[in-house]
């Protein structure tokens, strides 16, 4: 059973508008969450993260919100740009794992930003 769920496989938005990507998780032991962005034929690249002790983290146009009680996080991109078109993966990390970080990924969501 998927512990990290991205229930919408795709999203299409107009340039300049807000993109909201959602992610739900089931494991209450997850205490760190990350978003990765992936272009075709490239590896995922780290975008933004949030610790479970926070409910919001912002980096430029990207903001991640965490609702621990609902086991839900979302990535907001404002304003959206055509270059943001990519597949976005939500990932979660359980607590102390002795030096490694065994990320658990969602299935990914394809974002298309139309000019």
């Amino acid at each position: 059973d998927q512990q990290v769920k991205q229930n919408s496989p795709s999203l299409s938005v107009q340039e300049g508008r807000i993109s909201i990507l959602n992610c739900d998780y089931t494991n209450s032991m997850f205490d760190y969450f990350l978003w990765y962005k992936k272009y075709p034929a490239e590896g995922p690249t780290f975008l933004i993260s949030i610790s479970s002790i926070k409910d919001k983290n912002e980096d430029g146009r990207f903001t991640v919100f965490l609702n621990k009680s609902a086991k839900h996080l979302s990535l907001h991109i404002v304003p959206s740009q055509p270059g943001d078109s990519a597949v976005y993966f939500c990932a979660a990390l359980p607590g102390d794992q002795g030096g490694s970080e065994k990320l658990v990924f969602g299935k990914g969501m394809k974002l298309t930003v139309n000019p």
Partner: protein, 113 residues
């Protein structure tokens, strides 16, 4: 440019053959990882290594083996490839001990016929 290098970029392989996917990083990261990406399933961890000389099993380790003889290299071996191992394979590394996000290579696209 510092980062992770994976080879080959792509490969078509007959079922039953042995194959080693190569991964090298020059960031002196302690931890390294192998993932496979399948359509509709996201990325799943195959094996990982906390530090040189140690390895561990991830979510989908069956049919794969790894070794970590030094800090920089983390090869993934398919001893006898099967069609269900057709996938895109990504190698990643991180400083370890929650000190930074994972960095990924550009992947190896492997087709088993």
């Amino acid at each position: 440019i510092a980062g992770i290098t994976q080879a080959p970029t792509s490969q078509i392989l007959a079922a039953g053959r042995r194959m080693t996917l190569r991964c090298t990083q020059d960031m002196r990261h302690n931890a390294m990882y192998w993932y496979r990406q399948d359509l509709g399933l996201g990325l799943r961890l195959i094996h990982y290594s906390n530090t040189a000389g140690t390895t561990g099993k991830g979510e989908v380790p069956d049919g794969y083996s790894v070794s970590r003889a030094n800090t920089d290299d983390f090869p993934l071996t398919l001893a006898s490839a099967v069609p269900s191992q057709t996938s895109v394979y990504f190698c990643a590394s991180s400083p370890g001990t929650s000190s930074g996000p994972q960095h990924f290579g550009d992947g190896t696209r492997l087709s088993i016929l």
